[in-house]
């Protein structure tokens, strides 16, 4: 490599772009941040379709064992929640939280005319739409649109822990940011050339698309710097597991405990598509999830923030009641959702487990529309009118 070329490349990794970001964009960074009672939502997406029946186990139900002679989880192995129901044996940490009243489980969550394609069903869950609707924005993105009336500087208001953004986090006007590795993101967005472009860019075409791109760039640079600074404030009180989900939870814990203004974190854990040899795979995934969530909760408890944080899990669908020929399960329909927080109103099993005696062609019938659950979270946790975001009103539920 010639010296000059190396120098050219180096230009983009020296200094940080935020040095060049105009003052008006920096206002956000200097505001006092730690707001008591500032509610945070952590969404955990279990990608691939988690088997809800082996997550929350109806261990007194003969139909369950008849349909799952090999993969059914025995009563003595399950972590008992009550006389009827137990948790997957790998969820020891979540069980301990459950016993302390920090977990609410909502059963039979789904939607009408369920779709069994990973893609389409995830699209429905992420956009927060009905099965016969096509919506090109995400429910949390629309939350940003509505909640962020005055936050041109708040591009770190919602963060997906990844390199690219999910539909759930894209609004009509505003988007969340995607950050997997804070340093890498800070370096990339902090390219001094980008900063210089912002600085010299004239505002005349701001109404046009170019203006939109420059605004997005400014906000990104500003957010990258903000997240980078916030990430340096707090040192984790717990040891997080050295897995992908563990690292992601650690980053979330760091930012929450630093008092970052971020309201929504979005993280994915996969792959739950257990058509073959389900037990081993789900065990491994749950162990990783349980260890990471336990570390996060302990970290939040240490700093006194656990009451302000709601962890919510979901998956694009559950799986069929009957095991298949490969000791796995195929794509199904309704599923359970977990809510973990120090600030729950009603802990425990929110509603009865699905009726395995009343199936729709071998699949669980949903009893709660997932959009009703979203509405509850938006209304009672995020303090925003859900109708704007979900296009329709839903009765809110009482667990929050």
């Amino acid at each position: 490599m010639s010296v000059s070329r190396r120098r050219f490349l180096e230009m983009s990794s020296l200094a940080t772009a935020s040095m060049f970001v105009p003052k008006f964009l920096k206002a956000f960074e200097s505001k006092p941040v730690n707001l008591p009672g500032h509610k945070v939502l952590v969404v955990v997406q279990l990608s691939g379709g988690n088997d809800g029946l082996n997550t929350v186990i109806p261990y007194r139900n003969d139909i369950y064992y008849k349909n799952r002679p090999v993969i059914g989880i025995k009563r003595e192995e399950a972590l008992s929640l009550n006389d009827e129901v137990g948790l997957n044996p790998m969820m020891k940490g979540i069980k301990a939280l459950y016993d302390k009243g920090y977990v609410s489980i909502v059963n039979g969550v789904g939607y009408a005319e369920p779709n069994r394609s990973h893609f389409r069903s995830m699209d429905i869950w992420q956009s927060g739409s009905a099965a016969d609707e096509l919506v090109t924005s995400g429910w949390l993105g629309r939350y940003l649109d509505n909640a962020c009336t005055d936050c041109d500087k708040h591009n770190a208001f919602a963060i997906e822990v990844d390199d690219t953004l999910s539909l759930a986090m894209k609004g009509k006007q505003r988007n969340a940011i995607a950050v997997q590795d804070i340093n890498q993101f800070h370096n990339a967005a902090g390219n001094p050339y980008f900063g210089k472009l912002i600085q010299t860019h004239e505002q005349e075409h701001d109404a046009q698309l170019a203006g939109y791109l420059y605004r997005t760039l400014s906000e990104t640079i500003s957010a990258a710097d903000y997240v980078y600074q916030q990430n340096k404030i707090y040192t984790a009180s717990q040891t997080y597991p050295n897995t992908a989900i563990g690292k992601h939870m650690k980053m979330i814990g760091n930012l929450i405990n630093a008092g970052a203004e971020t309201r929504v974190y979005y993280v994915s854990h996969s792959s739950f598509d257990t058509h073959v040899d389900q037990k081993n795979r789900q065990n491994k995934l749950f162990t990783e999830l349980d260890d990471s969530l336990s570390a996060l909760v302990a970290d939040l408890q240490c700093s006194g923030r656990f009451n302000d944080v709601m962890i919510m899990t979901f998956s694009e669908f559950g799986r069929r009641v009957t095991q298949n020929a490969s000791n796995g399960t195929d794509h199904g329909t309704a599923n359970n959702m977990f809510f973990i927080s120090g600030g729950l109103k009603k802990a425990g099993l929110y509603n009865p487990l699905p009726d395995l005696g009343n199936l729709d062609q071998g699949d669980i019938k949903y009893s709660i529309d997932f959009k009703q659950v979203y509405a509850t979270v938006l209304d009672k946790w995020m303090s925003i009118v859900p109708k704007e975001i979900l296009a329709k009103s839903y009765d809110t539920m009482s667990f929050i």
Binding site: L134, T164, K170, A210, L217, A244, S271, D273
Partner: protein
């Protein structure tokens, strides 16, 4: 707008950007427009031969008794989708008539399907390319009978005893009329008319007479014993269909954000009166005065595939890893053959968010300076389905490196030699960017240039210009 600017705009919209030769020698618009259209029907793109399909068809698979072997074979066949994708992108890069590919991408999104069958994808792609500049009615009929569409919108399950309304709904909502121009009852009646349309074990269209409901249907106010072809014809008789397609084409070729209703109405009238001649409609649009209005400059965000192909047509690139072509599509959100849903890619501002913008702005360095981008991709449906093994990584993502490419700069650099150091950035900006940038921006850019020698200077100016937000527009 000068003639040169008009030429630049036309080739940016009707293709993947103007070549330096065309830019230096602008021609009258009418002459350019005539040259956009291929004189003959395009040849087929074939990655998967009929023999390969025969070996992998459901019929052949059924004969395999070994479960594991069958799974491996199915997996290997599904992976061929990547090869088909790359073949098409290569056709775009080499295209003598880029408008054909540009329109094929349009229809590929309009008639969005998502199958796990690359042979079906290939058949549909060829139906689309064959009719992309032809007659919309022919295109609609071909697509409606293509196995990819029959499978994706469940017409395979649409039988007299249990009508499946999926195709009937989407053919109206997405392919012809648009929302609000039909009733739920129209969907039910149309679904009955499409009963019996299916494909056989080889992927050939078949009409199962026994599963067809030949009773009377009332559709869009008309009564008859309609079959599927009748329904498509009735849809084509609706002026709303011409309007709906014209609106979408306007957004695709003219402006993401601002739609001029008067101009769209003119297009629709023209389209309808020509009996849905796509080429005639495009000629009308590309020769209209309003197409060259100053407000049209920079009014479109380049789609990821346009960006990628534009780079490759500007500077020949040899990728050390051919999958880079699909990685870029995935990381920027337009993975061909994998639309987000049946509505296709929403486009426009939707292409841009904080991460996609920063990745786009880093891309020129990755492609042309081998400054690799190390990124995680979200899994595709196929990848989700393939992660069955216990010991496989549980990270949701696939880590990839983008870059590792060798660009051939020679002819490009030669074209830009001889400019003064001070004048080159402005001259090149006028060529590469759709809108004017200020002198202060160009001065800023100069501070980052490599000034050791003329060749490196030309390269660095190019890369910095391509890294600008304006380069994301056309």
């Amino acid at each position: 707008m000068t003639l040169q600017e008009q030429n630049k705009l036309l080739y940016a919209r009707a293709g993947f950007g103007i070549s330096i030769a065309d830019y230096r020698r602008p021609r009258p618009i009418k002459e350019c427009v005539v040259g956009l259209f291929p004189p003959t029907t395009p040849g087929r793109l074939e990655m998967i031969s009929e023999e390969e399909w025969a070996e992998n068809s459901p019929k052949a698979m059924k004969e395999l008794t070994d479960d594991l072997m069958r799974k491996e074979k199915q997996k290997a066949f599904r992976e061929r989708a990547k090869d088909l994708n790359q073949l098409w992108v290569q056709a775009m890069v080499e295209a003598q008539y880029p408008l054909l590919e540009k329109m094929s991408i349009f229809w590929h999104g309009h008639f969005a399907t998502h199958t796990a069958n690359p042979y079906f994808d290939q058949l549909l792609l060829n139906d689309v390319r064959k009719n992309a500049l032809g007659n919309f009615g022919d295109l609609l009929r071909a697509v409606s009978k293509s196995p990819a569409m029959l499978q994706f919108l469940n017409n395979q399950q649409n039988k007299k005893a249990h009508p499946n309304e999926n195709f009937a709904r989407e053919v109206m909502e997405l392919f012809t009329l648009g929302r609000g121009h039909y009733t739920e009852q129209d969907i039910k009646e149309a679904a009955r008319a499409f009963t019996g349309w299916a494909y056989d074990g080889y992927g050939m269209f078949v009409f199962h007479k026994g599963q067809h409901d030949d009773g009377e249907k009332q559709f869009l106010g008309r009564r008859g014993n309609w079959n599927g072809d009748d329904i498509l014809n009735i849809l084509l008789e609706q002026k709303q269909t011409a309007l709906f397609i014209s609106q979408k084409l306007y957004r695709y070729f003219v402006s993401d954000e601002k739609v001029n209703d008067k101009h769209v109405q003119q297009m629709a009238k023209h389209f309808y009166e020509s009996n849905y001649d796509i080429a005639a409609l495009l000629k009308h649009m590309f020769t209209a005065d309003w197409f060259y209005d100053d407000s049209v400059k920079g009014a479109k965000v380049k789609a990821p595939v346009e960006l990628l192909v534009g780079y490759q047509r500007l500077l020949p690139i040899e990728f050390r890893n051919q999958n880079t072509v699909t990685y870029i599509q995935r990381v920027l959100g337009q993975h061909l053959f994998n639309p987000p849903n049946v509505a296709g890619w929403p486009g426009g501002k939707n292409w841009i968010d904080s991460s996609s913008l920063v990745i786009r702005m880093q891309l020129p360095q990755a492609l042309f300076m081998s400054k690799e981008l190390n990124l995680d991709l979200k899994p595709t449906e196929q990848e989700i389905m393939m992660t069955h093994k216990v010991n496989q990584s549980t990270s949701p993502n696939k880590n990839v490196r983008i870059g590792q490419a060798i660009a051939d700069w020679s002819s490009y650099v030669a074209e830009w030699k001889g400019y003064g150091r001070a004048e080159l950035p402005k001259a090149m900006a006028e060529y590469l960017l759709p809108v004017a940038v200020s002198n202060s921006q160009l001065n800023a850019l100069q501070q980052f240039c490599d000034k050791d020698n003329e060749e490196d200077y030309i390269k660095s100016v190019s890369i910095l210009l391509m890294g600008m937000p304006e380069y994301q527009l056309c």
